[in-house]
């Protein structure tokens, strides 16, 4: 966590709420409830969680950026800190700024005496309150959120509704005890500190929350990807659990019967991708999801899908690597890995969405691209995007059409599965259609029979690789430019860095941002044009070696001299981007 250099916030329009405590305190669900109270009061939020691998126990923290306008990132300063233990205070007190509030458990021996005078502290005797309602320790966060709402002028009834929604299926007294607990927390701090209330969560006048048709949703990247897959007609998913993408399978598994798809938990990632390939061979829209370590196991299946021309969508959520690495932290270190994994050359399409909304649309699009080009499509995301909730309008996919490409389920006369075609795409069919073909991991002829002859090899390789040329012309999306057309400084980046960069641009008027979302095929011409026209370039990415930096150089010949990389497992913060750009 970077030090807050100044004791003011970078963007006074964004309020940062943070809650921390030991693993098992329900920090994440408490934080999410806070974010939902904000959403239901008409605010935008973005949240970011930090937690270690749970086997070690330890410190969990969730921070929520709240704003009247769209907000796309966490910030390095904290306006309101809820400390359920001393460690939370120790780890985060340096983030406190002029006017920050600290709500702490005064029954937990938390020492706040050393905090600077510009920080306001609010004690909350959580153990006493729990005894008073005859509740249990897991209610600490309900009480704390109730008290925080009081100090931030939030609507306690929304929290009570959320508690009902969470516990409604349990016995009624669970709901009523929690209701009583959060009310006591709320009343306790108001009685002592009525004069310290800040109008941060005051419900926006004229805004009405409609539970049946909410105007803003709060999904994570994982959830957006799962929703995109369901919307896109996905019919088969085999996913072995792995942080940070496990929540994709959690989001899919309960809805199989209603939507008519199969989620299968395989024995390992090797099996996962081979099952998905088998299902696609028999006509299913198939997907897998994993992180870098699981993708390492999938590497052999990745190329198998390539040479057998079998469509499969691969979600790769990056975390700090190599090996087990930083399992619960973020990184963008697998860019080159997904571009080069597996022996030899085969066409692979790699998309890198930059936020929750882009993740949803990339997920939908990936299924069309996989079937159209009959090849694996990777959606490359990271822990930061996968696990952060972000306010988005309900996804608009009204213009999306299912495109299965050249596909027949009917018996064809003289059918040749791998017949050459100028666009590289042959007429595909599936097992069970009555058409004989061999999907062959060996190099093969037009039917699929093993064939190692020179002319056949060249024909089939050229045919497969031609698909990328076709894709470049028909589907590839150019980088998107944010900020002024003419700028003194142009930031080049990709993936989840988008959010912190957009927040930084809010205070950097003469800076723009080139956001790359297609990694392969790569938008060479358009990017080169944008970079050639820029006055000063800075590349930002979250890996040691500057993997995108090298890719840009390889494709365009442009060597970006200012290369800002980070590989500590934490996402970029707007503050450090602003500092870096101002230092130019």
């Amino acid at each position: 966590m970077p030090n807050a250099q100044s004791k003011t916030s970078l963007n006074p329009n964004v309020f940062t709420f943070k809650i921390g405590g030991e693993a098992g305190f329900g920090i994440m669900s408490a934080g999410l409830n806070f974010a939902k109270v904000a959403t239901r009061s008409g605010y935008h939020t973005f949240d970011y969680t930090e937690y270690p691998s749970l086997v070690r126990g330890g410190h969990n923290v969730m921070q929520i950026s709240v704003s009247k306008d769209r907000v796309d990132s966490q910030y390095a300063t904290t306006d309101f800190l809820v400390a359920l233990n001393q460690e939370t205070l120790n780890l985060h007190e340096h983030e406190l700024i002029e006017g920050s509030g600290v709500l702490y458990d005064s029954d937990h021996n938390i020492d706040v005496s050393h905090l600077p005078s510009y920080v306001k502290t609010f004690e909350l005797p959580l153990t006493h309150i729990i005894k008073e309602v005859n509740g249990s320790m897991v209610m600490r966060n309900s009480i704390a959120i109730g008290a925080a709402l009081a100090l931030l002028d939030g609507d306690l009834n929304i929290l009570k509704t959320l508690i009902e929604e969470s516990f409604g299926h349990k016995k009624n007294d669970v709901v009523s005890i929690n209701h009583k607990a959060c009310q006591i927390g709320y009343d306790y701090v108001l009685k002592e500190h009525a004069g310290d209330v800040k109008k941060i969560l005051t419900p926006i006048s004229g805004f009405t929350f409609n539970p049946d048709a909410p105007s803003l949703l709060l999904p994570t990247g994982n959830e957006a990807i799962a929703l995109g897959a369901v919307a896109s007609g996905m019919s088969f998913a085999s996913i072995y659990p792995m942080t940070p993408t496990s929540n994709i399978l959690h989001s899919l598994a309960p809805h199989q019967e209603k939507y008519g798809f199969v989620y299968k938990q395989p024995e390992d990632e090797i099996s996962a991708i081979n099952m998905a390939i088998g299902a696609a061979h028999a006509g299913a829209r198939s997907m897998v999801a994993t992180s870098g370590g699981g993708f390492a196991l999938m590497s052999e299946g990745y190329g198998l899908a390539g040479i057998t021309e079998t469509p499969v969508v691969i979600i790769e959520g990056m975390r700090g690597s190599p090996a087990t690495g930083l399992p619960t932290w973020t990184e963008q270190g697998d860019l080159r890995f997904v571009l080069h994994a597996h022996q030899g050359d085969f066409p692979r399409i790699v998309l890198a969405p930059g936020d929750v909304e882009e993740a949803f649309h990339a997920s939908m699009l990936a299924f069309n691209l996989a079937e159209k080009y009959q090849t694996p499509v990777v959606v490359l995301v990271d822990k930061f995007i996968c696990e952060s909730h972000s306010s988005v309008a309900p996804f608009d996919y009204s213009n999306f059409k299912i495109d299965r490409g050249k596909l027949t389920l009917e018996k064809q006369d003289g059918y040749k599965r791998f017949a050459p075609s100028p666009d590289g795409i042959s007429l595909r069919t599936v097992a069970g259609s009555g058409n004989h073909f061999v999907a062959n991991s060996d190099e093969h002829d037009e039917i699929g029979y093993s064939n190692e002859e020179i002319e056949n090899r060249n024909t089939q390789m050229n045919k497969r690789m031609q698909k990328l040329v076709t894709c470049s012309a028909q589907d590839m999306q150019a980088p998107v430019v944010y900020g002024p057309k003419d700028a003194d400084v142009t930031i080049v980046s990709w993936g989840s860095n988008k959010g912190p960069i957009l927040e930084a641009l809010k205070v950097l008027p003469n800076v723009n941002y080139v956001h790359i979302t297609w990694i392969n095929p790569f938008p060479v011409e358009k990017l080169k044009q944008l970079l050639d026209n820029a006055k000063y370039l800075i590349n930002i990415e979250a890996n040691f070696s500057g993997q995108m930096h090298g890719l840009i150089k390889q494709h365009t010949g442009i060597n970006i001299l200012n290369n800002f990389v980070k590989y500590d497992g934490r996402p970029f913060y707007p503050e450090e981007i602003v500092e870096r750009v101002k230092g130019i």
């Binding site: 939902k36 929350f209 539970p211 048709a213 909410p214 949703l217 709060l218 959830e223 929703l227 369901v230 919307a231 896109s232 007609g233 019919s235 088969f236 085999s238 809805h255 199989q256 209603k258 939507y259 008519g260 798809f261 199969v262 024995e267 390992d268 090797i270 099996s271 081979n274 099952m275 998905a276 390939i277 088998g278 299902a279 696609a280 061979h281 028999a282 006509g283 299913a284 198939s286 299946g301 198998l304 309900p394 996919y397 999306f400 059409k401 299912i402 299965r404 389920l409 599936v430 097992a431 069970g432 058409n435 073909f437 061999v438 999907a439 062959n440 991991s441 699929g448 029979y449 093993s450």
Partner: protein, 289 residues
Amino acid sequence: MSNLVESLSNSKTPNVPNWCPGCGDFGIWSAFKLAAQKKGWDSSNSAIVAGIGCHGHMVNFVQITAFEGLHGRSLPVASGIKMANNNLNVFSFSGDGDSLAEGCNHFVHTARRNHDITLILHDNAVYGLTTGQTSPRSPKGYVSKSTPAGSVEEPLNPLTMAIASGATFVAREYAGNIEQISELLIAANEHRGFSLVVILQPCVTFNHMYTHYFFQKNTYYLDKTHDITNKLHALEKSMEWDLNKIPLGIFYKVESPSYEDQIPVLQSGALGMRNIEVRNISDLYKGFA
């Protein structure tokens, strides 16, 4: 025999098998084609999958839609096919290196899930395609390029392992018994659930121990006194391996719902043959605000 000859000519592809003369794969190939002919297995109702090894060339010589996958991975591909189209007869050809070394994990898990597929395990107790190394089926003491002083490892027993792992149809044949293999493959396919058919197969080039003569002399058929529904008896018989004492036939067969039978989504027809349409996800938004 006319039936056999007819089936051989009807099911063949333009490709000439490249197995060594005398290879056990010829017998398995013939038996499969004979069964296909008898039961009408073709590209409209069946799919075959192969791993890597000499057995894998099978995909080039049989007129049924095939997937030749990677070494050891035929079972997950076959499972995927079956889940996407549970109307298909799904056959997975594999070898002892393929299913018991590289793919042993998949072997165990496919058996425990009872996917409704038939695994035809070409068991020649040697790596043939890579020119003669010790396999997980090679006996202790086996001399090969990889174990010049003789293997010090005990062989795996796929029958025992399959029964212990939850397979519901476990059988063994010898590659020379073409008509019997053919009947066994039909029975295995008709069984709902995971069927393992091990075929003892000479590698005429690299295994000079397990020859046609060896198998013809030392195998015998389990008789009616063997209760195929008794797991302990089946396990006991599966461990029998001695001179003149190598049992063939069905060791174990019990009725149990297959994986596909238990998945509600699969009860309304083949997943992979359904129309793919944009789904309305509005109902999933609940809980996201």
